[in-house]
């Protein structure tokens, strides 16, 4: 699933490790989500949206849409 995590992180000057700390997950998890290798569960997607102060659909792109 495509997403804007890299851009959103860059806008805030956060590294993957910074985002991982905020989400309470490993840096590997952030990397896997960011590179589209792993689609997060709904709870993790909500956490990501909350951390950036955005809606899930502002971060993740629905490939099927």
């Amino acid at each position: 699933m495509k997403n804007r995590l890299r851009v959103l992180r860059a806008e805030r000057g956060w590294s993957q490790a910074d985002l991982a700390d905020r989400l309470n997950v490993s840096r590997q998890s952030v990397n896997a989500v960011e590179t589209g290798k792993y689609d997060p569960s709904l709870p993790l997607a909500f956490s990501i949206a909350r951390v950036f102060g955005l809606k899930i659909e502002d971060i993740f792109e629905d490939d099927a849409a």
Partner: protein, 133 residues
């Protein structure tokens, strides 16, 4: 492991090492005290099962780790690796069993399946990580 261990991984190690020490201690204890000693059948059952208990504990500890892990990506990686290792172990055990039937290989005790599983799990973890790189 290059990254810092998370709480679930720390709990896994805190459970794993004492259980492995118990396994080694039971084996050593039995070998030192009871090797060549005539014992009633019921006592032999207890001695035979005793080293299996910590190994069964290790299998439970592996399962506990999966339910303890709050990082869903790491949990998925471990679950994939465990399934792959289980498949490899069952395949090897099945093939070996038939080779035994054909007298091609010597008899091996069934507990070797756990050793094969541990080796397969180590390889599977590497494979799963490499596949997602």
């Amino acid at each position: 492991m290059s990254r810092k261990l998370n709480p679930a991984e720390k709990r896994y190690l805190a459970r794993f090492f004492p259980t492995m020490i118990a396994y080694v201690a039971i084996l050593a204890f039995e070998n030192i005290l009871f090797r060549g000693v005539e014992l009633p059948r019921w006592a032999l059952y207890i001695l035979a099962i005793a080293p299996a208990v910590p190994i069964i504990g290790i299998i439970g500890i592996m399962g506990l780790y999966l339910s303890d892990e709050t990082d869903e990506y790491l949990r998925m990686q471990h679950a994939k690796a465990s399934l792959l290792a289980t498949g490899v172990t069952l395949s090897i055990a099945t093939a070996y069993g038939f080779m035994e039937d054909f007298k091609l290989v010597p008899h091996l005790q069934a507990y070797w399946a756990f050793v094969v599983f541990c080796a397969a799990l180590g390889l599977s973890r590497g494979l799963v990580k490499a596949a997602e790189r």
